[in-house]
């Protein structure tokens, strides 16, 4: 097919004739839009649509995991309760943990990145957007598999950490542990795909002028997160694959009788598992660093130390995994080393806290809802950090390990350190996603209920743990004297549940009836606020040029922009890694249904391989076909260039 030569390279400059004022917008919209219809919805590669789906799905999993948490609190409200059978309770706590870590916390941080990284760095779409679409479907199918298995009474019951030999072939018959291991494979595939997209987008697609020292801190955090995913996830993929091999084809990686080693599992799992905590936590603190300036009306204090803190924590988090294994009887000297490294991470964490305190000190705080969540973060996370210092000490850990003290500790750091900032970020960015504000009045109630509900629910667990209450027990004798405090905890958890319920109500209400937000309701300084709310399919009419770390504050009037990009095909700008100097115009892929088919083929293969190893062989055939379809040259400008 031949095209007229001018149509092969029509630039936005050609539309600057002034005859049609919105000719450029209409052209761009036609090229970048996702047309209506089911097939088109399944084919879209728009990072905003995929990101929105990802975020919504992650919050659905949060709600489901929350229901499980409430079931557990109902069970533990009184001693020797028979509300849940031990078999069901073990499934419930396993799926609560696996769901919250693998299906909510990590994916939601990736999801926010998929939506916001391209907007924050000023580009038209994420890099490798079809990979993003594939990633979402794999995530959705993997998460659904876990929950369907649970509904069918086939839910994993070996803990979210699936220690061998309990999860091995000898002590976990049936398919429950395989479901767990394969769920890991699903989420790892999707996480790795997103991580690669983020790395390439941040390093190569930043708006011209956004040199490394002008990258918004949350984007730095997502970049570090993405590198951590790339380095940490292979460890758990290896571990879960070895587990599946032990279970399915009779290898003996973890069988000491045949020369295997059960502690190998723990090393591999925690080599991933500890960085995972920081994979969740770093984006959350990045969100704080990026939101805070809008609510104290001044740029962040200590940009460079904050970036350094992110990098240091990312690096150090790979040297701490043994502190999950302090009671396994490792050599004393090694344990002392890991005590020191675990405590050392308090230093970069402290740097962050101090920089934020200075930012607030020097600024003029406005107590809007996202800021309230930041304050809740301070109170809660710092307390969790303190108990983190306690569990980092080998001797102390031998008393509190695997007790409710640790349950309290990691909920303080994960809910306080990641969920509170995330909810603040939802209140902050919801107007950008939907074009409507969330309710300030309801938001205050949400923040208050969650803050009080959380602390009254989880603080007493520290004491319960010290009084000897171990984790993962479905019942406890009345004579232990834990009943009163457990009842109190269960009652307070209702307040927390109410807070989340109100949050979801506010989401639904505001999406329809919220006040129109305008482009920049918080008068914030970063690029995503330079475009309309919600952003058009092409994000920016023209790619902005960045001249400072707070572009919307420092550029009086309108932002300088780039011109000369094609408007008859999807095109974006590739810039240099360090200084973001423009390098080349690059086409961005079209919508395609093949990532969806590839995800289905992958899912069928993975699920079937729970039942027979041959599924990997035969399942590779349809997968190959879908990949051929995905990469088949189609003669379109996007695909050919």
């Amino acid at each position: 097919m031949t095209r007229p030569p001018e149509d092969r390279d029509l630039r936005d400059t050609a539309l600057d004739t002034g005859q049609e004022p919105d000719a450029l917008e209409r052209r761009l919209a036609r090229i970048w839009r996702t047309p209506p219809g089911l097939v088109n919805a399944l084919s879209t590669v728009d990072h905003k649509i995929i990101g929105r789906r990802y975020i919504v799905t992650a919050f659905v999993f949060l709600a489901l995991g929350g229901v499980l948490a409430m079931l557990m609190r109902l069970q533990l409200a009184q001693p020797e309760s028979r509300f849940l059978s031990p078999d069901l309770y073990n499934q419930v706590f396993t799926i609560h943990g696996a769901n919250m870590m693998f299906l909510f916390a990590v994916p939601v941080m990736e999801a926010m990145a998929i939506y916001f990284v391209p907007l924050l760095v000023g580009t038209r779409n994420i890099a490798f957007p079809r990979l993003g679409a594939f990633s979402y479907w794999v995530y959705l199918f993997g998460g659904s598999m876990l929950w369907i298995a649970f509904i069918l009474q086939m839910g994993p019951d070996v803990g979210w950490f699936a220690y061998v030999p309990l999860a091995g072939p000898q002590y976990s018959s049936g398919k429950r542990a395989d479901i767990w291991a394969q769920m890991i494979t699903f989420t790892e595939i999707s996480a790795l795909a997103v991580a690669i997209e983020i790395v390439v987008t941040v390093l190569k697609q930043r708006a011209p002028g956004m040199s490394l020292d002008r990258i918004p801190l949350v984007v730095w955090a997502w970049l570090v997160m993405a590198f951590m995913i790339i380095m940490a996830m292979p460890a758990v993929v290896t571990a879960s694959s070895m587990l599946i091999l032990d279970r399915l084809v009779g290898t003996h990686f973890f069988n000491p009788a045949e020369g295997g080693d059960v502690l190998l599992w723990q090393h591999l799992f925690w080599f991933f598992g500890h960085p995972e905590v920081y994979i969740i936590f770093l984006p959350a603190v990045g969100m704080i660093s990026t939101m805070l300036p809008a609510f104290v009306r001044r740029p962040i204090f200590g940009y460079l130390p904050l970036v350094m803190a992110l990098l240091t924590m990312g690096l150090l988090s790979f040297g701490l995994w043994v502190h999950h294994m302090f009671t396994t009887g490792l050599p004393r000297l090694g344990e002392s080393f890991f005590t020191a490294s675990s405590m050392a991470i308090a230093v970069p964490a402290g740097v962050q806290i101090f920089c934020w305190l200075a930012t607030i000190w020097l600024g003029r705080p406005a107590f809007r809802v996202p800021f309230l969540f930041i304050l809740a973060f301070f109170f809660t996370f710092v307390l969790g950090g303190m108990t983190g210092v306690m569990v980092a000490s080998v001797p102390l850990d031998t008393q509190v390990h695997d007790t409710y003290f640790v349950v309290a500790h990691f909920h303080y750091v994960l809910v306080g350190g990641a969920v509170f900032p995330l909810l603040g970020a939802i209140y902050y960015w919801f107007p950008k996603i939907t074009g409507r504000m969330m309710s300030e009045r309801i938001g205050r109630w949400v923040a208050g209920l969650l803050f009080l509900g959380f602390n009254f629910t989880f603080f007493p667990m520290h004491i319960l743990g010290l009084q000897g209450m171990t984790r993962r027990i479905y019942a406890y004798p009345a004579e232990m004297g834990w009943g009163g405090m457990n009842l109190f905890v269960s009652l307070c958890s209702v307040a927390m549940a109410a807070g989340f319920l109100l949050f979801f109500i506010d989401i639904f209400r505001s999406a329809r009836h919220g006040e129109p937000a305008g482009d920049n309701p918080w008068e914030a300084s970063t690029l995503e606020w330079a475009t309309s709310s919600p952003p058009p399919p092409y994000n920016f009419v023209r790619i902005p040029v960045v001249t400072s770390a707070s572009p919307l504050w420092d550029e009086k009037g309108s932002l300088p922009v780039v011109s000369g990009l094609a408007v008859n095909r999807r095109e974006l700008l590739i810039t240099g890694m360090g200084n973001a100097t423009p390098e080349v115009r690059e086409t961005s892929p079209q919508n395609s249904i093949w990532p969806f088919f590839a995800a289905i083929a992958t899912s069928v293969m993975l699920v079937a391989s729970i039942f027979t190893p041959w599924a990997v062989v035969w399942g590779a055939i349809p997968l190959t076909i879908t990949l051929i379809g995905w990469f088949w040259p189609r003669g379109t400008p996007e695909d050919d260039s």
Binding site: V158, R332, G468
Partner: protein, 334 residues
């Protein structure tokens, strides 16, 4: 009087006021005491730091500000001062962290010391109970028991921890920190009980469906009482005293019981389940689930899967008379 009964009477006493019998906050042994001190050092330090951070936050939020803003020179000066304050705070963090690491290191060194005269006991975890082996240089003086540990007060004890199946974790918070029992490995826990009493241990590593009900009693008693108890345990099972008990012994030997359980001095010699030679003298049955009485023994044997769902003891069909007899016999085995 039969000396074997004395310790049993003694055991019942401390059960009365035992609210803190599984608590790290109520140390009764050398290691637990050391850890308790360390715990408070950390807690006080960390609380102080946390409070300081929140105080600074409160001050930053509500400090008085110039309504019209400040000049650029003033702004630069306060930024410089903030930089200095951050530097000082980071330095303080490093000092505190180093101090705590050092304190932690010292505590580790203090509690890991082995004693040559320590009493060595081998504890082996099973799904979901504990096997206890009191070894002795004279083989006939070694004996097995289950779910109950007796220790003489003041004498260092060395526990060799192993497992028969999955990972378990041995934890008596009043006496020492926990230590895992790992297949293919053996871990050692050393401590000295300082005060007589009954303490409770519980498995701390998730080990399957009845992880919640895997408890162990630890009786710390005067050395003389301990020796009496030990002699009683070394002895073979008590002979039946009544026709009913004799019938119970026959049930024990002829039905499935003996395939898994041992009663020394009878034909029951199974090794899959707990040794029952002196089961009637133990405080609890089923790893801490029920107090040992004739009634609870009968309830347990009649339907173990309702009492402790998922455990490995099958329901052995017995007539009412057989059940009566065997529970009477087991209660006799003190």
């Amino acid at each position: 009087m039969n000396t074997a009964r004395l310790p049993h009477l003694f055991l019942l006493l401390p059960l009365a006021g035992c609210s803190g019998w599984q608590s790290a906050l109520d140390p009764r042994g050398s290691t637990a005491e050391e850890l308790h001190g360390l715990f408070w050092l950390f807690t006080i330090t960390c609380t102080a730091v946390w409070g300081a951070v929140l105080l600074v936050l409160a001050a930053a939020l509500w400090r008085r500000r110039h309504p019209a803003g400040i000049s650029e020179a003033q702004q630069a000066r306060s930024e410089r001062r903030s930089g200095v304050a951050i530097g000082a705070a980071v330095a303080a963090t490093v000092v505190i962290i180093t101090g705590l690491t050092f304190a932690s290191y010292l505590a580790t060194r203090g509690i890991a010391e082995e004693h040559p005269e320590a009493l060595t006991i081998r504890v082996r975890g099973y799904q979901w109970w504990w096997e206890v082996l009191y070894a002795d240089s004279a083989p006939h003086r070694a004996f097995l028991t289950a779910n109950e540990l007796h220790l003489p007060v003041g004498r260092p004890v060395r526990l060799e921890l192993a497992t028969a199946d999955v990972i378990h974790s041995f934890w008596v918070p009043n006496l020492a920190g926990k230590q895992d029992m790992i297949p293919g490995r053996e871990n050692v826990l050393v401590f000295t009980p300082r005060e007589p009493g009954t303490y409770r241990a519980q498995c701390a590593e998730f080990c399957g469906i009845q992880h919640a009900h895997m408890a162990l009693r630890i009786v710390v008693e005067a050395p003389a009482d301990f020796e009496r108890w030990r002699e009683a345990q070394i002895a073979e099972a008590a002979p039946p005293m009544t026709p009913e008990e004799e019938a119970g012994r026959q049930v024990m030997e002829s039905k499935a019981c003996g395939a898994c359980h041992t009663v020394r001095g009878t034909a029951a010699a199974g090794t899959l389940g707990p040794d029952l030679t002196h089961v009637g003298g133990r405080q609890t049955i089923a790893a801490g689930m029920l107090p040992t009485t004739r009634g609870s023994l009968a309830a347990w044997i009649a339907d173990p899967q309702t009492v402790k769902p998922g455990n490995n003891m099958p329901m052995v069909p017995l007539t009412a008379e057989e059940l009566q007899a065997v529970s009477a016999y087991l209660a006799r085995l003190r």
